[in-house]
């Protein structure tokens, strides 16, 4: 079975094995559907999205089911990645150097492993948001089942569900920006699975060291 860090021909290295890529896109497509229909329920100015996706009733019926799919994908992501997402000492350094990261001065950043501190934050914020969204989402799915004396559950749910959703939207926007626009090669890595060794060395130097150290074939450079 191919694993992350496996060196491929033509100076490339496997970053995301098939199982990780598949799960990423399960989460991604379900999230995008949830985002669009969620925005429709969020504001009258976005309600046309619900009409475009089959109507308000359809969106209301399907949104919770896709929410379950998203939650399962996030839990699978947890089982795949959680050990690698633990915070390290150099992650604190990374946050202190955030200004350099924003200004594209990556050479001034402390060396990141397979995931940098920002990616770890993205992961954990999606993980905890998904739990909040599931718990509040179940209440919003069946509001008529909540007895009157437990109505505070509904009040918490109508407020926390959008709060958690907004947290994911902030992360989602940064995630899309970083992967599609800011870091060339990142988007391809989650489609085809591989990145160049230069990419690994530039953005994930510690991971690069592991790859090179753990491989018999020396990388071209």
């Amino acid at each position: 079975m191919s694993e992350t860090g496996q060196i491929l021909p033509r100076g490339r290295v496997l970053r995301y094995p098939f199982a990780e890529r598949l799960n990423h896109w399960l989460a991604a497509f379900s999230y995008i559907y949830l985002l669009l229909t969620g925005l429709a329920f969020w504001s009258p100015w976005c309600f046309w999205i619900a009409a475009a996706l089959g109507g308000g009733q359809t969106s209301r019926t399907v949104h919770p089911w896709i929410g379950l799919v998203f939650f399962i994908a996030i839990m699978r992501m947890y089982s795949l990645w959680a050990p690698q997402m633990r915070s390290t000492e150099s992650d604190k350094q990374w946050w202190r150097s955030l200004r350099h990261y924003i200004q594209n001065e990556d050479d001034k950043m402390p060396p990141a492993g397979r995931y940098n501190a920002g990616q770890k934050a993205l992961f954990w914020s999606f993980f905890y948001s998904a739990i909040i969204l599931l718990l509040t989402g179940v209440i919003l799915w069946f509001p008529e089942e909540i007895p009157w004396n437990l109505r505070w559950l509904r009040y918490i749910a109508v407020f926390l569900h959008p709060v958690a959703a907004l947290a994911t939207i902030a992360n989602f926007m940064i995630h899309i920006y970083m992967s599609v626009f800011a870091e060339r090669g990142a988007f391809g890595s989650v489609i085809r699975g591989d990145v160049s060794l230069e990419f690994a060395k530039r953005y994930h130097p510690e991971w690069y060291k592991e790859i090179v150290g753990g491989s018999s074939s020396s990388p071209r450079k």
């Binding site: 033509r10 009733q57 209301r60 509001p143 008529e144 109508v158 907004l166 060339r184 230069e198 953005y203």
Partner: protein, 295 residues
């Protein structure tokens, strides 16, 4: 229903101005329920079910004079019954006709995300348009009176319409028509308030109810159903009528500050990221083109 004669004042989930909004003013209408002369005969309950052509709904007997624990999607009007023991040991039977209160500031309408699913007419009637209802149940959370009820088969929410179809034709609601004791009245809100206050004064002066008063809660901007109570200081005694109902705080926060902060953050985020790209560009722009970067 009958939008030809009832003019729209507010509709739910609508972006921009509301067509026909406030083109014509009408009297704000109100039901007056005098709990002190209600005998709990349930004629109004039956009239409601009959007029609105509802299917049979099984009743629940719990050793009181109450038909069922709370209103249902197909049972919009329910006389609540409470046996109240006064300080002197004597008993009072408190009967209150419970239905949609037709709030001036309806929580259901504020919470509803579906364009035009909840309408408030200029005469004050708040009505659900089931063809536009998406069944999300946000109205259930917006209502401080536990009124909107979900039908699992149609996946829509229902409640008292204040007989819009009758009122728009100049008739009183069915429940009012059926009342045999005259404890129910219908007319302009102004007139009903005068009548209610007269009755409350009468109860104070002549019937030894020093706390008698009128229930027209201002927390929801006043209601289209007002009550005369023997003891207006304790409305909870009457089947849990809230003493100061408001749109729940969390619903207000959600539809108020959270919405604006969220919208600002989302739009600001998109603009911020775009400006970042203009200013700093992609991270590897200084590099020589990566060999075989995108095979």
């Amino acid at each position: 229903m009958s939008q030809a004669t009832l003019r729209v004042q507010k509709i739910s989930g609508h972006a921009g101005s509301v067509p026909g909004e406030d083109t014509q003013r009408q009297y704000t209408v109100a039901k007056l329920v005098d709990t002190t002369t209600c005998i709990g005969c349930k004629a109004c309950e039956v009239a409601c079910v009959e007029w609105n052509d509802m299917p049979f709904s099984p009743t629940t007997f719990d050793n009181t004079y109450q038909t069922m624990p709370e209103t249902r999607w197909n049972y919009w009007n329910l006389i609540t019954f409470n046996e109240h023991e006064k300080e002197d040991g004597s008993l009072m039977w408190l009967m209150r006709k419970n239905q949609c209160m037709h709030c001036a500031e309806p929580g259901c309408l504020a919470a509803c995300p579906s364009d035009g699913a909840i309408v408030q007419y200029t005469n004050g009637i708040v009505d659900f348009q089931q063809d536009k209802c998406i069944g999300c149940g946000y109205c259930i959370s917006g209502c401080p009176f536990n009124i909107p009820k979900f039908n699992k088969e149609t996946k829509r929410v229902y409640k008292c319409t204040l007989c819009t179809d009758r009122v728009s034709e100049g008739l009183e609601p069915a429940c009012i028509k059926a009342c045999p004791t005259g404890c129910l009245h219908f007319g302009s809100k102004e007139d009903m308030l005068v009548l209610a206050n007269q009755r409350a004064t009468q109860l104070k002066d002549n019937y030894n109810f020093p706390n008698a008063g009128v229930y027209d809660p201002q927390g929801v901007g006043g209601t289209g159903v007002i009550y005369v109570l023997h003891d207006a200081t304790q409305p909870e005694l009457y089947g849990g009528l809230p003493s100061n109902p408001t749109i729940p705080l969390m619903v207000k926060l959600w539809k108020g500050p959270l919405k604006w902060l969220g919208n600002l953050a989302m739009v600001g985020g998109v603009i911020g990221l775009f400006v970042h790209y203009l200013r700093f560009g992609p991270k590897d722009r200084d590099d020589a083109p990566q060999e075989g970067a995108q095979p």
